[in-house]
């Protein structure tokens, strides 16, 4: 018996799997989230044929906004071909009839886990990030009702206290992925576990970002051209992961976010984590016509918008 025989025909489901009421609710929540940048909007997270914690939040956001004319790209840790990404992509395509792609520039909706693509997203594109834990205050305030009060008061002193403690104890900021940011100079927001490397990509971005946590039933958004600032001191700055000295073993490119591949000899080799971008670089190397868009970081590792990353002194050039 094959999977095709076991599953219902698509006509048995609502368009986009979710019923009309669920889609309407989600769209309203998304509108509210866009209206209040960085504010966590509660929503009724629906059951989906994948388990909570495997991207149900992002999937619901994608399913509720996708139409047949959309082009969808799904990535998981930068990869288009991981099991999770492939499953989600197939499900979205089957339920909404969208075209799928691995090309960042062509996609209208990009659902992602843990990464923002290397190529700069443009106006009209939608980035949907899957969020495991939407509450950035959880580390300092385990009580979620008190955390909500702190958000209401914009009382974020404890976050800076934890930065202070990290500097005193370790001499640097210890937060790796999911580095907290202040959105629109108002709400503290967890940008989902994207590496620090990707955090500046949300600042004054041309694209819309929707972040959705299915298990925690919260979604929030960063509208286009909105300030997104990592928390930092005025004299000790936020820094991105240093990619200096790392060269991609497939493309030879440098200054992109790399996956480290430990080697039997004890050393490591590196590979660009964004597989869609690697594909494009390889196609271009083969001489095929490829339009590689501008990237967030240039080959010297400078962020495209000056003054955003102050930590490496590349902001004033």
């Amino acid at each position: 018996m094959t999977l095709a025989e076991l599953t219902h025909p698509r006509q048995d489901y609502s368009y986009g799997f979710l019923d009309a009421f669920a889609r309407r609710e989600l769209r309203r929540r998304i509108l509210k989230a866009i209206a209040i940048p960085g504010y966590q909007v509660p929503y009724a997270s629906r059951e989906l044929p994948i388990a909570r914690g495997w991207g149900t939040g992002g999937l619901q956001a994608t399913l509720s906004v996708a139409g047949p004319q959309d082009v969808v790209k799904v990535i998981d840790q930068g990869a288009d071909d991981s099991v999770n990404a492939a499953n989600l992509r197939r499900f979205i395509a089957r339920m909404t009839g969208v075209e799928t792609t691995t090309d960042t520039a062509r996609a209208t909706i990009i659902q992602s886990r843990h990464r923002v693509p290397e190529e700069r997203l443009a106006e009209g594109q939608l980035l949907v990030l899957q969020v495991p834990d939407p509450e950035p205050l959880r580390a300092v305030q385990p009580d979620s009702s008190q955390a909500r009060e702190m958000h209401a008061d914009a009382d974020y002193a404890q976050m800076w206290l934890s930065l202070y403690e990290q500097l005193v104890r370790f001499g640097r900021f210890m937060q790796g992925a999911s580095y907290p940011v202040i959105v629109n100079r108002r709400y503290l927001m967890s940008p989902s576990p994207i590496p620090r490397w990707d955090t500046p990509a949300l600042h004054q971005s041309a694209h819309l970002t929707i972040l959705s946590a299915g298990r925690e039933k919260r979604l929030y958004a960063v509208p286009p051209y909105t300030d997104v600032r990592p928390i930092e001191f005025d004299d000790v700055f936020f820094q991105v992961e240093d990619q200096a000295g790392r060269v991609c073993m497939i493309t030879g490119a440098a200054q992109k976010f790399m996956d480290e591949l430990p080697q039997p000899g004890g050393g490591s080799r590196f590979r660009i984590s964004d597989t869609g971008y690697v594909e494009k670089l390889l196609a271009a190397a083969r001489g095929e016509p490829t339009a590689i868009g501008p990237t967030y970081y240039d080959d010297q590792g400078r962020f495209w918008m000056p003054g955003v990353i102050r930590g490496r002194g590349d902001g004033d050039s």
Binding site: D155, W160, Y164, L167, F233, D234
Partner: protein, 269 residues
């Protein structure tokens, strides 16, 4: 060797305006009236002692003055430009927080009420400045160091969390945190209760020195008349939520008029 002639402030009646004026404070918890009709004034640089047995409402008065909980009735003013002519009991939560951060320092009897026991001592003090909007690490560090030095905290333990410190040192961290923003009003709730006598004397010394140097208006609540006698200029005696006697410290403690005060003083001496 000749001694420098010491200069003393001439004795005078304070002609300034009181920093703190509270009128007819009232607070009830269900059927229990904790505080009823309490009025008090504190002048800049002055220390007011509040004494009374457990349950007399003295700590409740302090909590009301710290705006920790809402009063049922009353009028509470601080003579500060930003809050001129305003009943502070009616402040909204944002301005209340702002006032508490910038103008009121408090030291609790139990250190865990005023400190984050897991964060470093310096961090505890720095948090006050962070709340007030300071975002430079170097300034935070310097301010924490200054403030802890002023409360005579051993600076080599700057980065130790209060959890691992002795009771006396924990009180010094609380004190440093309370004075970090150079507040107009300092509230001390049984600051030395629970410390052994020698440590208590050292902490009292620090408080006296701070009072002399910074001239912060202070209210100290204690059931220990020795502490009150050491620190306070004026004394208010409370019982059952009411003020029963009120006067200069020496006068009240040496020549108590009210039977309850007499009993209290004699129980001590």
């Amino acid at each position: 060797m000749t001694l420098e002639p010491r200069t003393f402030d001439p004795p005078r009646l304070s002609d300034g305006r009181p920093l703190l004026t509270a009128r007819e404070l009232r607070k009830t918890y269900g059927r229990v009236t904790a505080v009823e009709g309490v009025s008090l004034e504190v002048y800049p640089g002055e220390t007011l002692g509040i004494v009374g047995e457990s349950g007399s409402g003295k700590s409740t008065v302090l909590r009301l003055l710290n705006l920790e909980e809402p009063a049922d009735a009353g009028d509470y003013r601080l003579d500060l430009a930003a809050y001129a002519g305003e009943n502070l009991l009616g402040l909204d939560r944002y301005r209340r927080r702002e006032l508490r951060v910038s103008q009121i320092g408090i030291v609790y009897q139990q250190p865990h009420m005023g400190l984050r026991m897991g964060a470093s001592s310096g961090g505890n003090v720095a948090e006050r400045l962070i709340m007030a909007g300071e975002r430079r690490f170097a300034s935070l560090r310097a301010a924490a160091r200054d403030s802890l030095a002023a409360s005579e905290f051993p600076l080599d333990r700057l980065d130790d969390p209060p959890r691992v410190l002795s009771g006396g040192m924990q009180q010094r961290v609380q004190l440093a945190k309370a004075i970090a923003m150079r507040p107009a009003l300092l509230l001390l709730d049984e600051p030395t209760t629970g410390l052994d006598v020698s440590v208590q004397a050292l902490v009292l010394d620090t408080l006296l020195r701070l009072r002399r140097e910074r001239r912060i208006a202070t209210i100290v609540v204690s059931h220990d008349l020795g502490v009150i006698r050491t620190l306070a200029d004026r004394v208010m005696v409370m019982r059952g939520g009411h003020v029963v006697e009120h006067g200069l410290a020496d006068q009240v403690l040496d020549d108590p008029q009210h039977p309850y005060t007499q009993q209290l003083v004699h129980a001590k001496l």
